[in-house]
């Protein structure tokens, strides 16, 4: 197994259980390769934290004011039209 395959399996293992054969081959590679071991630690760290991104995202982005006014008009028009159709 080379590093390209090893990192492929590491990334796969973050979502799915590897087969026993894959796990054994990966473990053997990781024992000998410190770069892939680092990749595993650091990539797992990123992966574990991606789900929290929403919670910590930078400031709330607001919708453009003009667009919002336009949207409000459209919603109002729709509601007024449908109540006039009675």
């Amino acid at each position: 197994m080379d590093c390209k395959e090893a990192t492929y399996l590491i990334s796969k293992s973050q979502e799915e259980k590897l087969t026993i054969k894959e796990r054994v081959k990966l473990e053997m590679h990781l024992m000998a390769c410190k770069f892939c071991k680092l990749f595993q630690i650091e990539s797992n760290l990123i992966n574990d934290n991606i789900a929290y991104l929403h919670k910590y995202s930078s400031e709330e982005q607001k919708m453009n004011l003009k667009k919002k006014e336009k949207l409000q008009d459209e919603v109002k028009k729709y509601l007024d039209d449908s109540s006039n159709e009675q």
Binding site: D2, C3, K4, E5, T7, Y8, I10, S11, K12, Q14, E15, E16, F35, C36, L38, F39, I41, E42, S43, L45, I46, N47, N49, I50, A51, Y52, L53, H54, K55, Y56, S57, S58, E60, Q61, K62, M63, N64, K67, K68, L71, Q72, E74, V75, K76, Y78, L79, S82, S83, E85, Q86
Partner: protein
């Protein structure tokens, strides 16, 4: 069709008031959308579509979930549709057997005697955490967000679907109509890029 009478009924039963929607929820929905699609124009369109669909299906609102939750669930579907359209246009495909995947990246050697090993420029370095554990660290998340933003949009779509609906790989492949080997190739490439981007930007702050 929505009539004034059943509008009134809905309002009192479920505390729903579409006249206030834009005022109350447009920014929230826009912010949600832009986290997933990156372009503010597309995010605005998605919010508009969401309100219009909501108005048309207002009688399906059962009042069990709050207005905002209900609108957000409609928006989620709009985002998924958006990505589905994109993947139908084949923008998402990278072929694992293509020259692209094998040769044009800088991560791994391609010469016969050391094929598939890390190139010296791409080798991971040790990350010094010390006092900068990522948990609760706003900076970490800001840089992660910007690194995700640097991925090709179609790859970021795959991440988005995972986060929006907690889809697993099979469901994402089905939603986006991609093969599972293609999915794993996209994930592999994305994670190599993300880790590298975090190392360059987070560790050097």
């Amino acid at each position: 069709m929505l009539t004034l009478n059943n509008m009134e009924a809905l309002k009192t039963q479920n505390k729903i008031n579409p006249y206030q929607w834009v005022n109350l929820y447009a920014d929230y929905l826009f912010n949600y959308a832009i986290m997933q699609v990156k372009s503010s124009e597309i995010a605005e369109d998605l919010v508009q579509d969401t309100f219009m669909s909501a108005l048309k299906s207002i009688k399906n609102f059962n009042g069990k979930s709050g207005e905002r939750t209900w609108l957000t669930s409609i928006l989620k579907n709009k985002i998924i549709d958006h990505y589905r359209k994109k993947s139908n246009q084949c923008e998402i495909l990278i072929n694992e057997r293509s020259e692209d995947y094998d040769n044009s990246d800088h991560f791994f050697e391609t010469e016969a005697n050391k094929r598939g090993t890390w190139t010296s420029e791409a080798r991971p370095n040790v990350w010094n955490f010390e006092d900068r554990t990522p948990v609760e660290n706003k900076e970490f998340y800001e840089i992660l967000q910007s690194c995700l933003g640097k991925l090709p949009e179609s790859w970021a779509a795959v991440f988005s679907l995972k986060n929006i609906e907690d889809f697993n790989s099979k469901e994402i492949c089905k939603e986006l109509n991609i093969s599972s080997s293609n999915y794993w190739v996209i994930m592999h490439r994305s994670k190599l890029q993300l880790r590298e981007c975090m190392e360059k930007n987070w560790m050097n702050v």
